[in-house]
Symmetry: C2
Subunit: 190 residues, 2 copies
């Protein structure tokens, strides 16, 4: 099992956003949609052993966390609007402290990073980290930020997590996930 | 300079497609939009040394080729709709045999793969190829297919090109580009 959590610092937490304006009105929800894609899609297949958390921190109903289960998700296509539509549905249902399924394999609850850090052992993917290819063992979960840097509060919460980068250039979150999964894919067959 | 060419076997060649239905009515144009993204975007920057060709083979006005210049493009954002809107504009202008600029850094002409193969030295990125990390030198240009396999005619035209894969799992075209660029990034600093 590999887990990704991506923080959407401005991402909408109510379902009234427009799928035609995910970069603007939905608070760069496009970044999170692409991260779902890169976490879960293989060519003509899904990565059934990957789980994705989206930590949504924008708007008046924040924080909320959406979970995409690679094992259970259906009706997900690779385009941004497809993931966006499932996120929108998740944000439209009444939600409490525990995960509730909104569509097959997609779940939503209140709460954010603090709770996730209690539930999984994370590494942080960030440009200042150790080169991933030199790492010998990794925790099950990887934390990334969207287009914005981690906040001082987030850095404080993750201060004890190992930190990795995925090469000499600074990449978007979704590209970082793609490279990381490729590193894990190669190791799995060695 | 690194060059990518992605073949869109069903991709629209007229600009009357709907940006809200790129996977359907535009012939999986979403695949090509994501390939533009993964070819050109770094975090808060563009890969100015990358050029992308989209070979569009769908519809009645095929074939057409669109060029995105990483050096010259403006008004390109990472979301699929942004690349889609620039492709749509390119397909709306009258076009001949030579590249014509439709928006800053985006160009369109008639013609397809045959002509590109005369202009650049290509490697093919495909699951049957040699593992890319074992390659010692690469041509300047890399050819990929969209969600469909290369046709027998395309395989015939590229029979003499070296072939590479990017790991043990079969990836989408845009993910393949991300991994390949990461391999080149790592080599560039060695």
């Amino acid at each position: 099992m590999t887990i990704f959590a991506i923080i959407g610092h401005l991402a909408a937490t109510t379902g009234n956003f427009n799928l035609n304006d995910m970069p603007g009105g939905a608070g760069r929800m496009d970044v999170l949609c692409r991260s779902v894609n890169s976490s879960l899609f293989l060519s003509h297949d899904l990565r059934r052993d990957v789980t994705v958390y989206l930590v949504l921190l924008g708007g008046t109903d924040a924080p909320k966390t959406i979970l995409f289960s690679g094992e259970k998700v259906r009706s997900l296509n690779p385009d941004e609007r497809s993931a966006g539509a499932l996120i929108k549905k998740a944000l439209e249902i009444p939600v409490g402290e525990e995960f509730r399924e909104s569509t097959r394999g997609v779940y939503v609850r209140r709460g954010g990073l603090f709770r996730l850090l209690q539930e999984h052992t994370f590494a942080v993917l960030d440009e200042g980290g150790e080169e991933i290819t030199t790492g010998t063992s990794f925790p099950e979960a990887f934390l990334l930020s969207d287009h914005l840097d981690f906040t001082p509060e987030e850095l404080g919460m993750t201060g004890n997590c190992p930190k990795y980068c995925v090469g000499p250039k600074i990449l978007h979150a979704d590209h970082t996930i793609t490279v990381l999964l490729n590193v894990l894919d190669r190791r799995s067959v060695q």
